[in-house]
């Protein structure tokens, strides 16, 4: 009795060469990420989990315990969560109508709105902050206009959480509109028309047809915006209050101003873990999308 063994295609020399070439192409960025991100991150995590008592190094959660026992640290973390979720909610409230308009409207006005929606993409964060200070600040453009039209008692959002939210929303609009519009363009007109045909109104179509069909772009916009906002520095530093602070500002001050690198490292690892969890949501969503595309 003879048996035949068919070698799989991947074993052919050509396939091996192709695979080796592919690895060679991705090697430099992977190496850079390993050296500049993963290894320092792992070293930081390891340092936050060890304690040195009289030259004896041991495993300990003491740094984390200290973080969560410190009223200011916890307040800053909670403040960051509040700002992130309020900003995300505002982003979707602002960007969904914009994206829907850009998806369904045609003509010059739609083209103009698209350019306006993408404009913040070309404005550096620091310029945006100073522009907002001039616009929203005390005796700024907005207050002057309100005074001219007879509205008094303006209370500036500058140096308040609202200013951070306004700045971060402004920064996030282009990316969110792009992702949502791209997702909406995948929804075929006939799916919407057939819903209208069986009696659905605009709100029902949005809630029951459009939203479930663009859940992946929504999750991608949610997770990437979350990551950007959670670690934001420039906008919260220039527009936000002195206390409480967002984690980005808190870390920088702990490290640079108070000269407590160990505490800053713990804050960074906590921030990293929270962002990693949201990052996992993004990776899972993108992976599912790729699997679906490959199956189609």
């Amino acid at each position: 009795m003879t048996t035949q063994t068919l070698s799989p295609k991947t074993d052919s020399p050509r396939q091996w060469r192709q695979a080796a070439f592919a690895y060679l192409l991705v090697a430099p960025p992977l190496l850079l990420m390993l050296l500049l991100i993963f290894i320092p991150a792992l070293q930081s995590i390891a340092r936050t989990l060890t304690v040195d008592v009289d030259g004896q190094v041991g495993f300990s959660f003491s740094r984390y315990v200290a973080f969560f026992q410190d009223r200011i640290s916890v307040s800053n973390l909670m403040f960051t969560f509040q700002v992130v979720f309020l900003t995300l909610a505002t982003i979707f409230v602002v960007c969904f109508p914009l994206a829907l308009y850009l998806r369904f409207a045609q003509g010059r006005l739609a083209a103009a709105v698209q350019i306006l929606a993408l404009f913040p993409l070309f404005v550096p964060g620091i310029i945006l902050c100073y522009a907002l200070i001039r616009f929203l600040g005390t005796r700024g453009t907005l207050e002057t206009i309100l005074n001219v039209v007879g509205v008094s008692g303006y209370r500036t959002p500058y140096l308040k959480p609202e200013a951070i939210i306004i700045g971060l929303v402004w920064e996030s609009i282009p990316f969110t509109v792009l992702v949502l519009t791209a997702g909406l363009r995948q929804v075929n007109d006939s799916l919407i028309e057939s819903a209208r045909d069986v009696g659905a109104n605009d709100w029902t179509i949005f809630r029951r047809i459009i939203l479930p069909l663009i859940m992946r772009p929504v999750l991608i916009a949610f997770s990437l915006n979350f990551l950007g906002i959670f670690g934001a520095y420039t906008v919260p530093y220039l527009l936000g209050p002195a206390a409480p602070q967002m984690m980005g500002v808190f870390m920088q001050q702990t490290f640079g101003q108070y000269r407590r690198p160990d505490d800053a490292e713990t804050q960074a690892v906590i921030t990293f873990i929270i962002c990693s969890l949201v990052g996992l949501l993004y990776v899972r969503t993108v992976a599912k999308q790729r699997i679906q595309q490959e199956n189609e």
Partner: protein, 357 residues
Amino acid sequence: MARLDIVQLTKQFGGVTAVDAAQFTVNDNEFMCILGPSGCGKSTLLRMVAGFEAPTSGDIRIDGETIAALPANKRPTAMVFQKYTLWPHMTVYDNIAFGLGLRRLSRSVIEQKVKEALELVSLSGYEARYPAQLSGGQQQRVALARAIVLEPKILLLDEPFSSLDAILRVRLREELKRIQRRLKITAIFVTHDQEEALSLADRIAVMSGGRIEQLDAPSTIYSTPSTLFVADFIGTMNLLQATAAGGELRVGDYRLPAPAGLKEGQVTVAIRPEDVVLGGEGTGWRGTVDQVMDLGHYRKIIAQIPGVGDVKIYLSKMPDVSEGAPITLNPQRWLVYQPDAALPLEYRRAGAVEAAV
């Protein structure tokens, strides 16, 4: 159970007239097909009835009441689209139940209606499947079930089978006809497929350039097309240039008797392939066989007749005819289209019989 009146309905996109003063009535329980080539305005006409396009002028009435101002979601119509219309995130059950849920029917009523609709389209047991798990034909059956479950006054179908393969298309066509007869529903079916229209419709409206060229029963449309466009578009037709003079038609070197009342001048003679027989020595058109196409139970022959041009005829399996062989043709019935006359004139030779193929 409803009657639809289309009254001087016009739709313009910018300077282009997509539908030009369409006027017709679809009677209660009638199955009407709107047939025409791509871009003739047939889908635009249907979309105006469904409420997806606003008419530029004219009116749409169902049972005498105007619906032209109603939005699509308030009209007593339901539409089956060309493709991609099942909501992919919903199961078959949810797709069909969606419209019923919007009408705030009780869960038990919805369940019963969905069950009946699925039985009607022979898809019982498919409730839990998602559209991606269905074939193209099954998806269109679900789309049909989703439309008819709402018991619309008018069922609108926009080329629902055009993306399916030929065998499935024929099967679904038969199924649709059966369902329409059983439910006694008034339906408008838009298609560019003349075979589909001829086999399904009680009446056909043939459209071209936004206008309705002819509205008649399928047999009338086929046997007596009222315009040259319809003659050319429906079925196969030999269209030959001729001169009418002295009570005769001069087609190349040959003469044909002219129908009564024909004025002298340039005309077009239209002859169906099945209205030409072999033979007629002496008076027959002599030429050679250029092509023989075996189409199963009959053959299509293209004969080259000097001075006349190519003439298509249908032949049964006998007698045997080969390419290059001499052939003599004898037209039995023809229509004559005059440039300034509204309708063609017909001439039928005495004793001429309908072709058997």
